[in-house]
Symmetry: C2
């Protein structure tokens, strides 16, 4: 499996709008096992995204999906920056397909 | 929903053993929507854990479950420390119950 854990910051006051865009594009992404969008508790503009994919290739392929391309185009002006973005190797746990 | 994203470090060479303990205790935790254990890619001893719960109360209650108590007791000597541990407010995404 392939994972990503990232924290991004929305332009001030734009977090809800950005989250809505992120959630709208996560349906029907082949190989996506988990994609959790969360508000940071300590920063009104920050968003945590944790992703689990069958493989890194599935993640890369998702970036070419029409609904993802569309979401990226709409989201870009709402993003102020990325605080962190790390790659992981998920090994299991509750909520993943067995 | 209530979330946690944490990075812990195992004692040198003990990551696999620690991960096994973490995974063994995640079954049957009421209110646990997702609990993903992942190896850090940049540190052979580091582990990322991302959790999504129905509520913070469910998370707290889980710490009293017999299998979790047992896992904590076994895991403690294998843990070198915590690099980060943040609380989040998950709002949705793929892989969560609707």
């Amino acid at each position: 499996m392939f994972g990503l854990i990232g924290r991004m910051r929305a332009q001030q006051g734009k977090r809800d709008e950005l989250i809505e865009l992120l959630l709208a594009s996560t349906d029907a992404m082949p190989g996506c096992l988990s994609y959790v969008v969360a508000q940071a508790e300590d920063d009104a503009d920050a968003i945590w995204i944790t992703e689990v994919w069958d493989s890194e290739a599935d993640h890369k392929a998702s970036l070419s999906l029409p609904q993802v391309q569309e979401a990226i185009a709409k989201a870009r002006p709402l993003i102020a920056g990325f605080d962190s973005h790390v790659r992981t190797v998920p090994v299991g746990g509750a909520g993943l397909p067995r």
